[in-house]
Each structure stands twice: as C-alpha cells, then as structure tokens.
C-alpha cells in the first residue's frame, strides 16, 4: 500500500514537472557520436532556460518519416523535429508558421539563399536551416597516384564528363582499386548529373515535369553506361550493396556522395583521401540539400518551439554546433569559418555550391520530387536491368510526375 502511495506521489511530481514546460523533440541521428554532441547543446539550452525541460526522442533516419507521420496522424506532433528536405516538403501543411514569432525579413536574411526555397512559403516560414549539404566526389589519393592520374585542383580546370570517364578507366586499370566509382543509391545523387547536363525535373512554374528532354536522355544514357562498362559495381544499385563500405575498404577509387561523410571518413586509416570538384557537362553543378528544424501546428508548446528553433540556428549556437559536427552551417556569416583538418575539402564543396543554378533547390523543394523519390530510382534501375530504354524511363517518370502535380 505504501508503495502504491509513493508511486502515486512520484507520478504526480512527474506530471507537475512536465507541466512546467516540456519541449518535446524528435531528433534523427546519423552516427552515435552525433547524439552525444546534440545532448551537450540540449543541456546548454536548458541551462539558459531553466523553466524548460527538453525531452528528445532519438530515431534512426530510416524511421524518421514514419515516426513523424504517426505522430501527426495521431494529433500528437512533437514541438520540434530535425528533418531533411523531403520531410519539410511533406509536412508543409502542418508546419508551425515561424513568421508569427520572428521578423520575417531579418530572420530569413541570416541564411544562405540556396536554403530559402525550402523554408519560405510566402508569407509562411515553415522551418529553419541547420546546415547545408552538397553532393561531391571523394577519391582515394593512393589509387590516383598509383595510376598517375592528376585530379583537378581548382574550379577552373574541372573535368568534362568525357575526361572523368577517361580517368575512371585509367585508375581502374592501373591501380589496386578494383572499381572506379561508388555511387549512392539515391535519386538525389543521380540528379547531380542531370543538372550538369542542363536538365531538370520540373519547370519554373513548378507545375510541369520536363525531365523527358535531350539533356535527361544524355544523362541517363551516360549513367547507365557507367554500369555497363563496369565503372560502378552493379550491386550498389541492384541489390543494396553499401557504396560507402566499398570506398572505405579502399576498393573504389571514387565515391559520389556528399559533405556529410567528412566526420566519418576522418577515421579512415588505410589510405589517403580527398575531395575533388564535381565534373561538368554543360554546366557545373552540385545539388544543395540540408537539414532543418521545424515545428508543428497543434503541438503543445509552439512558442517554446519557436524559441528553440531561433536559438539553435543563431550565430552563437549554430557555428560551434556545425563545427562540432563537421557540417557546413547554413548561415551567411559562417563564410570563412575554419574547421581545422578539412578546410581544403570544405572549400571544394563550397565552390561547387556557389556555381549551382538556383532552380536546383527549387526542384528539390517541390513535394512532388519528395513523393517520387523511390519511384524515379526504380525506373532508373529498370534501365540498368535492361528492362526498358532510357527514353522509356524518362517518359514514365514524366507522366507519373505530371499526374502528381495535377
């Protein structure tokens, strides 16, 4: 009996404590180290706001969307969530409008223009950027040296697609790297080539798919040939082989991925690696992406949520936070920030970002792309399997896309 009373007391105290203002957050993790870093900042926030208790639900990235979908469908959205571009597009209708809490113009003005399309739905502000990501190519310096292939060092002499292919051929034939290129199995990474060729998924109006074009055809044909000629190992796009593993094991000379790998790759000890500028076709381009924080309409503490979002994206917090995680801050005033060990690599990503056309970000902030992500990838795989021609794949993607936009 006494135990029961004690339990009741504890429960009461707990509920009182939670009434004090609990900020409930859903935070996805990319690596275990990241969780520890974030917890440090949570403690900082709590110290600065003694009336608030922060409760974080850590979810693996694979289950992030699902967890948010469940919580939103159950009418119990979290106060704050860390999300990627696809999520912010999907949850736009239920996003907390930050413009009610901040001065829109000066708030938006803090961030890089490339991130604005994702968060600004005039007049609503549906989130704030935590960091910027850029696709890019990591390369195994040992293999390139062994094969005697010189990698372009600055933005003026980047390879054309043909030169890039030639380099793949040389490295694969003349070094211990068995494969020329590891390539992330995502539509996002594939699209890097599409933008370089001068193509895009959706036109300026945002209402029509235009991927079935000569540029689209050129891209998909070039990409499929990379598999056909054995430059990219088939397993990565056909059977879930992890591209990162192949590069880390020193067997792939290059790895098409993005800047978020830097922290992980700092642990590679069996070879030297670097980052090269992306090749060009008609244009130079990468694909900007990023991670964001957003609040939800109907959450328990919207005000507190808006406060936290401003805090974590502020100069004083976001710059050290980005440095700890070795990511690129999305703030304008982060320019020239030094990371210590990876400054060269980061300069390459930044240079690629600076030449990327503005419509690339617009493409990827369109909810239709978020929904078609898996579908597009599937159609590309059918081309790789020889089940359809590149032209047919593009037609299917375009038809399906227009169906969704309509």
């Amino acid at each position: 009996m006494r135990k029961v009373r004690l339990l009741a007391l504890v429960l009461l105290l707990c509920s009182l404590a939670s009434a004090k203002g609990t900020l409930q957050m859903v935070w996805f993790t990319e690596a275990p180290t990241e969780q520890a870093i974030f917890e440090k900042y949570v403690r900082m926030y709590e110290a600065a706001n003694p009336d608030t208790k922060v409760e974080v639900t850590y979810v693996p990235f694979q289950q992030l969307t699902q967890k948010l979908q469940l919580m939103v469908a159950g009418n119990t959205p979290p106060d704050v969530a860390r999300v990627v571009t696809a999520n912010i597009a999907e949850f736009e209708p239920v996003a907390l409008d930050l413009s009610a809490y901040v001065d829109s113009a000066s708030f938006l003005n803090q961030f890089l223009p490339s991130q604005i399309p994702y968060i600004y739905r005039k007049p609503r502000i549906i989130g704030a950027p935590l960091d910027v990501t850029a696709n890019g190519i990591f390369y195994n310096k040992d293999c390139f040296n062994e094969a005697g292939v010189k990698v372009p060092t600055n933005s003026l002499n980047v390879w054309t697609w043909e030169q890039w292919r030639e380099a793949m051929n040389k490295v694969r034939n003349n070094s211990k790297c068995r494969f020329a290129l590891s390539y992330d199995f995502t539509t996002h990474r594939f699209s890097t080539l599409l933008y370089q060729a001068g193509g895009r998924f959706i036109d300026d109006s945002g209402k029509k798919f235009v991927v079935d074009s000569t540029q689209g055809l050129r891209t998909l044909t070039f990409f499929a040939d990379l598999f056909k000629d054995g430059f990219i190992p088939k397993g990565q796009w056909l059977s879930n082989d992890d591209p990162s593993t192949l590069f880390r094991s020193g067997q792939a000379a290059m790895y098409m991925s993005g800047n978020w790998n830097l922290a992980q790759f700092s642990q590679i000890k069996n070879f030297n690696w670097g980052v090269m500028p992306l090749p060009r076709d008609k244009f130079r381009s990468t694909v900007p992406g990023g991670k964001f924080v957003m609040g939800f309409r109907g959450s328990k503490n919207p005000e507190e949520a808006a406060k936290f979002i401003q805090w974590i994206t502020s100069k004083e917090v976001n710059l050290p936070f980005s440095k700890d995680n070795m990511v690129l801050s999305a703030r304008k005033d982060a320019k020239g920030m030094k990371y210590g060990q990876f400054d060269d690599a980061i300069a390459v990503f930044q240079s690629d970002l600076s030449v990327t056309p503005a419509y690339v970000g617009k493409d990827w902030s369109n909810p239709a792309i978020a929904r078609l992500n898996t579908f597009i990838r599937g159609e590309i795989v059918k081309v790789l399997l020889g089940q359809q021609t590149p032209k047919q794949a593009l037609e299917t993607i375009q038809a399906e896309g227009n169906k969704i936009l309509r």
């Binding site: 409930q24 275990p32 639900t57 850590y58 694979q62 289950q63 469908a73 159950g74 094991s249 642990q267």
Partner: protein, 281 residues
C-alpha cells in the same frame, strides 16, 4: 540381414558418429552467426578488408566498450529485460487460459474465436500502425512500458501452440478430476498447467525472444530515452549515410546472450523425452 542384436560397443560407435555428424552440420549451418560473433572482435578497419576473413587478425574489445557507451545502455537493458519477462508471464497465463477453453470446451463461438485468433497473426503490424497508435493514445498507454507489455502479450501463435498441445491431453483425466469435485479453475491450474510444461516452456522461449527482439511496438509506443529498449537503441546505429558496423555487431552479440541463457535454462523441459510419459497419464 543377420539378426544378431547390435553390441553395446557398436551402438556407442554409431551414436558417436551420429553426434559428430549433426554437430558438423550445425557448425556449417551457423557460419553466418559465427561470422557475426568473430567480427564483433575486429577493429573497425578490418571489417572492410578484402578478401574478408573469418578470424580477427587483431582481436579487440573496443567494440564492446563502445557498445556499452551507447546512450544509457544499462537503462535500455533493464527496460528490455523487464518488458520481455513481464510480457512473457502474462502471455503464458492468458494464452494458456484461452487455449484450454478452445481445446477442451464446446461452446458457441468457439470456432469463430479460434479463427479470430489465427486472423490476428495475418495482418502485419506495420500496416495497422496508425490505428494502433490512436488506440494506445486514447488509453494513455503511449510512452509507457505497459504499452509494449500488454498488447503483444496476447500472442496468437502462443494460443495456437498451446491449444494443439492441450488437445493431446486425454479428456478422461479432466473427467475424473470433475468427479472428484475439482472446480474448472482447479482443473486448469492443477492439471492442465503442470501437464503443459513442455509447451509452456516452448512458448516462454519464443515469447521472450519476440519481445526482446521487438522493434515495432517500442517504435510506435515509446518516445522518451528513459523508456527506450535495446532494439530501439540498436536501430539508431544505422545512420542516414552509413552504419556503425563494429558497434552494431558487438551490441548484437550482447543482446543475444540473455536469449541464449533462457533457451539453455528451458530447453530440457521440452526437449527431453521423459516429459512425454507424464502427458499420457
């Protein structure tokens, strides 16, 4: 065939040969598991060496050290242990009661109930997650360990398994107990349960394993760190752009141990032929 009975020695030899053969087969069968265990002692870089090797070249305990520092490892372990144990006990009780009724009584709706039981295995949980979440929320069971203990305790497979076993218990035993004035509950508690120990032990093993390995229920129900289970924590090692294999492997081996212990503790109950004798009554 010469009908001389095999001598003791020959019988022993034959047994030895059989044992050697089945163990060899089991080892071959277990190559993937052996790899998991041995790889958990490899330093991170060695996992990616080509050609891959079975034995670690420089064995290390670093991965295990890392695994124990994942979040609040002790809390997760306790939560998992508590959930698996309590849920299994509830499952043993409620499933055996239901199985007893389905096997030994004739009543209106029995067939329907049996089919309903089977039907509940047929829907993959992933698919009805949203309504499940709504129900749990309305009952105030979200973010509570009871929310992952009670709902999965009514394992349909358990009812099915126990019912099949109880069917093989002769009705005469029950009848004679009734003659002696035993209550229905008494029959269940003093006759059915003791006679079903082999089946109960089997279910206990299965149920403990299911709850211990369960990801979906905790994923739907739990949101706070203090209530997270091991499987939730393990899943986080699979990041957006890469997997922390070495820690994951070590943590996996750690999570296997309790289940292995439960199996070893309970296996003699259902695997020895001796118990078969008691069922015949």
């Amino acid at each position: 065939m010469v009908s001389t009975p095999p001598t003791r020695k020959r019988l022993q030899n034959r047994r030895f040969l059989r044992d050697a053969l089945v163990i060899l087969l089991a080892v071959f069968f277990l190559v993937p598991v052996i790899w998991v265990v041995l790889s958990s002692f490899k330093p991170n870089a060695e996992l990616y060496v080509v050609p891959p090797s079975l034995l670690p070249k420089e064995p290390t305990l670093e991965n295990y050290r890392m695994a124990f520092t994942v979040g609040h490892f002790a809390t997760y372990t306790w939560n998992s242990f508590f959930v698996a144990t309590v849920s299994t006990l509830i499952a043993l009780l409620t499933n055996s009661m239901a199985a007893f009724a389905l096997a030994k009584y004739r009543f209106v709706g029995r067939q329907a109930l049996f089919l309903l039981t089977l039907a509940t295995i047929m829907i993959p949980l992933q698919v009805i997650m949203v309504p499940i979440f709504l129900v749990l929320r309305n009952l105030g069971l979200t973010d509570s360990l009871w929310g992952i203990i009670i709902p999965p305790a009514a394992t349909p497979t358990g009812v099915f398994l126990l019912r099949q076993y109880i069917l093989s218990i002769p009705d005469e035993i029950l009848e004679s107990a009734r003659m002696d004035g035993a209550s229905e509950w008494g029959i269940y508690w003093r006759i059915i349960l003791p006679l079903s120990v082999p089946a109960l032990a089997t279910l206990a093993i299965f149920s403990f394993t299911w709850r211990w390995n369960d990801f979906i229920w905790p994923f739907v129900v739990i949101s706070s760190e203090q209530k997270a289970t091991l499987q939730l924590a393990l899943a986080r090692l699979v990041g957006q752009f890469g997997v922390d294999w070495s820690t994951l492997l070590a943590a996996t081996v750690i999570t296997l141990l309790p289940m292995l212990i439960v199996f070893l503790l309970l296996q003699h109950y259902f695997l020895s032929n001796l118990t078969a004798g008691s069922v015949k009554g």
